[in-house]
Subunit: 507 residues, 2 copies
């Protein structure tokens, strides 16, 4: 007699399959971390095939038809009603991931892998020579394949939305556009006022000899105070700072040190520390379910920016931190004050390169990229036009004309890597962060005083309750709306920037 499978059994089987794929994904993340931090140079020779073998197995496991069958069975109305909230979230999020993983034909996945591998290689050379025309054929191919990808994935959505959805689930270009227009206009106007103030901020206190071991020791003091759990994570060095994790109890960040510039290591560590607190704060019960990570790139970036900019670049922060910094570097900061440190780390400058941009101009770099990539995917502009479109928009947004493509359209690796729809999440992170910052102040009236005393636990606790607890069970914008009572909007970021830089530049 055939036994009827119970709902509990279906859930258990789905969760076991997802757990296995998740375990294997975290194993791959360990290899990725090792590659960037520990691997000796010649180890690269075999690491690629090790990673490829793992990636193949993970894909195979997660896309087994049985996973689809289980999802469908659990989505059936009379089954669905019997599911717990957690299991519904597991089904919903894994359905999205499963569809994304299974909708693309294997040939397209392979073509994209080849095109982006070749694309990065071509981009690297083109950037060195500052010749966009050398990279253009590769980018044309990538854009073509990404449009195909969007076609397979999108269900009614515009091609660009289908791509954006991978990084910021639920978000659309139509939602972003008015927010970004507002932010751009306000930022351009703020930049003009900063220029007219004629007041350059003095950075020289940062530009002295700061020994690496002491800089690293100081970053650890700050990270501990932020609440980073070194029993459940570690910090190492790498060329480019990043955060990765293998479950919420093993979250690893990296930083990099410039012996002649204090800011690089400190703000690198605080930024990645913000990402890391998010991952360390994901509830254990979400681990290995497909929900056990930060919700979206935007929410993740809101955490890193909140700690790096809103807290780390504030006078409150330096009121607490300067005495501790003085213990490590008594000579270098002998005459510094919290005011002077704050001014030094907040200099605003119109510049060509996004990754070196300050808190104010950064969003202009992002909005420019968003506008360009959206129009590119929607077919409004062609790859060959990119340098001229780029330079024209740089003029409009930042009042600068890049002298060459190396300092212009060729500066970022994202498009060469096939990351289209990724850029807007950086500014979304700033927008979310400002909304959270305002809500934090509403909920904790003496927040500034507390931060001045280094009482960061109050911030972390709030974030745990309002953001971390959901893991991926809610979309980014929904989490922010629940935490702040408002849908994503640039109002709070604009207010924050105007107030902060008005004070710094005296207008």
């Amino acid at each position: 007699m055939a036994r009827v499978t119970t709902v509990a059994e279906l859930v258990a089987e789905l969760r076991a399959r997802i757990a296995e794929a998740s375990d294997l994904g975290q194993a791959a993340a360990v290899l990725g971390w090792d590659q960037e931090t520990m691997m000796p140079p010649k180890g690269a020779m075999f690491r690629a095939t090790q990673q490829a073998a793992l990636a193949g197995v993970i894909h195979e496991r997660f896309t087994q038809p049985r996973v689809g069958e289980l999802l469908s069975a659990l989505e059936a109305p009379d089954t669905w009603t019997q599911l717990s909230d957690l299991d519904r979230a597991i089904v919903r999020v894994n359905r999205r991931d499963y569809d994304r993983a299974t909708k693309l034909p294997a040939a397209l996945v392979r073509d994209l892998a080849i095109a982006t591998t070749e694309g990065v290689e071509s981009w690297r050379k083109a950037r060195e020579e500052s010749r966009f025309d050398r990279f253009a054929p590769n980018l044309r191919r990538i854009v073509d394949l990404k449009r195909q990808e969007a076609g397979y994935i999108g269900s009614g959505a515009s091609p660009y939305d289908a791509l954006l959805d991978e990084y910021e689930p639920g978000m659309t270009a139509a939602q972003l556009q008015p927010i970004f227009v507002n932010l751009r206009q306000e930022t351009v106007s703020l930049l003009d006022r900063i220029d007219r103030s004629g007041k350059p901020l003095d950075r020289t206190v940062l530009q002295q000899e700061y020994a690496t071991p002491k800089q690293l020791a100081f970053t650890e003091v700050v990270l501990r105070k932020m609440g980073f759990d070194f029993e459940a994570g570690r910090q190492d060095l790498s060329t480019h700072p990043f955060t990765t994790n293998f479950g919420p109890t093993d979250v690893r960040i990296t930083t990099r040190v410039d012996e002649h510039e204090l800011g690089m290591a400190l703000y690198g560590s605080i930024h990645e520390g913000g990402h890391a607190l998010y991952e360390q704060g994901i509830p254990l019960e979400l681990a290995r379910t497909g929900l056990g990570n930060g919700s979206s790139l935007g929410t993740h970036e809101s955490q890193s920016r909140l700690w790096e900019n809103f807290i780390g670049r504030s006078e409150m922060f330096w009121t607490w931190a300067l005495p501790l910094l003085r213990q490590e570097f008594p000579v270098q900061v002998a005459n510094a004050s919290p005011e002077r440190m704050t001014a030094a780390v907040n200099q605003v400058e119109r510049s060509y390169i996004r990754v070196e941009a300050d808190e104010v101009t950064y969003n202009l770099h992002i909005i420019l990229r968003f506008e360009i990539e959206r129009r590119l995917i929607d077919g409004e502009i062609q790859v060959d036009e990119l340098p001229s479109v780029w330079n024209e928009m740089m003029g409009q947004y930042l009042g600068l004309t890049p002298p060459n493509d190396r300092l212009g359209v060729l500066q970022d690796t994202h498009w060469a890597s096939g990351l289209i729809g990724y850029f807007p999440t950086y500014s979304l992170g700033n927008i979310y962060a400002a909304q959270l910052w305002a809500a934090l102040h509403r909920d904790i009236p003496d927040l500034d005083a507390r931060i001045s005393r280094g009482e960061f636990a109050v911030v972390l606790d709030w974030l745990r309750q309002r953001i971390f607890r959901y893991g991926r069970s809610l979309d980014g914008a929904d989490i922010v709306e629940r935490a702040t009572g408002e849908a994503p909007n640039a109002t709070y970021l604009v207010e924050y920037l105007n107030r902060k830089y008005g004070a710094l530049y005296g207008f």
Copy 2:
């Protein structure tokens, strides 16, 4: 019309499948290394399931029936004749691994995993309390399961031989026994002469304050001179030193440091360095074929012991090394001479604990364990008798009676972990090393003078040609016989020990 599969296609498919399993195995090794060296404490919570998921996938991949079909097709006489020597070796070694992996019923594998996990836990507690009776039920279960394992694997071999074959392919207890009897008798007699000499060697030079960073710097100087390629490997710290690798271009060793004892870090590093040179020396063409590692535990241990004892604990070594050590520790070794350093690192002492034993008594500890585990598996003695058998043999071999089981039968984790047939490979390593050492001297007449000048490259080159080049394509004993012209025998080890310790103790 059905196309006939060519031999080349069969070989390519087999090699692709083995390469994938090998890649995944190396990914698992990265996780293992990370766990022992880098993982924060709480990371353990999810690492076990990550490793289990990987182990499951590796087993599944390697034991697919298609692998068996391919092996059988290539073993067929008219196919076999068309294979290159390399491909024949690949088929031969992977057949052995495949049979070992597929012959055991899944239930037995699972029972063994449970029994040894519980066994290690039970052993740990029993050792703490020094109560063998607490561990005896677990060991009975493990011995029972290992006998079953031997029954599934062995084809005519004695049960013990089937187990030994996993660690030292091709070796048998019957081959080992006369060699070990000879070595035991000669060692017991040498120990008596050392005792009668009445000369204690002075270790005090080692027992001073040696700062950790300088000790580590010194181990790196020695490792570099041995030929360890830091571009294809690294050294870190761990509780117990070990060597692992993810292909021949990423070989990692660990060491441990005692700030008040110079020998621990130095000889830990040289020992693991010997293992590492072997793995770094495996030809690239053997990588990802199943042949790309050292041949057996015995050959591996021959490399670590050759560098650690035959070279590292010689006066030649100290003639070269002492001036370099003096650069790091000018005060501590101000009055030391190469003679005095050599005496200090070669003190012989009858003692209870294997891992602390010196070069002379070490083999007695091993031969005792070999005799006991062989008789246990062959049913000649029972688990309950182990403490009394152990203590009696300790009396016969070392003239000592352990005061408790903690210092006796409970000291090692091997049996609790299911590692039966593993112990003899330690002494086999010493035996092989002595044979290689004699052959090295025959081939390089001025070897000692060269070592005194730190010209270790001549040793490494010889080992590359005679040992490393084969990978796993030949069995350990066959490699040693080709390199030295003689089957494994204890003659050279006995001669070496008698000469070295006769000189040190003055008889």
